[in-house]
Symmetry: C2
Subunit: 105 residues, 2 copies
Amino acid sequence: MKENKSIGEILRENREKKGLLLRHVSAKLDIDTAILSKIERSERKASKEQILKLAEILDLDKDNLLIQYLSEKILYEIKDEALGSKALKVAEQKMKYINKNKSGD
Amino acid sequence: MKENKSIGEILRENREKKGLLLRHVSAKLDIDTAILSKIERSERKASKEQILKLAEILDLDKDNLLIQYLSEKILYEIKDEALGSKALKVAEQKMKYINKNKSGD
DNA sequence: TTACACTTGACAATTAATGTCAAATATATT
DNA sequence: AATATATTTGACATTAATTGTCAAGTGTAA
């Protein structure tokens, strides 16, 4: 029941599945291979633009990849916080509230 | 059923309730009044340290204030994202997974 | 019109994010 | 073993975001 892959793992798996080298993909992203290597090993974070480009290059679903990316960003914010779980729940509450009241304002 | 106050609103309300001036509180925080003014009007974000100090100064529950603070930080990350809600849900899933598997590792 | 609290915006300093490059490590292949 | 290729590592440069100061402005009340 292995279900939790990091963005980095997803990117590496799919790059290798397509037989692409860091060199090939990083060229399309217009960055050094070093950075892509770090992104795949979760040593650096990608930018949103890079994620979208990577989805194209690797034929991955953009929305899915973006959701994974954003959720990692969220977790990064609270990773060292004892109250992280509670903060997440409150954020969801607020989100509901915002969405409910988002009309002409 | 007004339930959603920003951290800034909470801070201002409680500062005024105690009859304190920006000058008084900002001195304790060791910052310019301008910044505190901006924090209270949500024009700037406070730091975690400032939030904890403010909880002390204003006699507010630290955990509560911190949760509010963190949840705002989370929302800030996804405020312009169409997929924000979904990302939040996925973050919660991942959080559960992490907490479940956090033993000696 | 003076006094006081707060706000605004231009700017400076500091810190974090994002990138390059060259050298170090694998891992094959000859 | 030696060469070739792919990836990793870390020192460093550049850029962007955060966090702050300061001085002038606005609002309100004595």
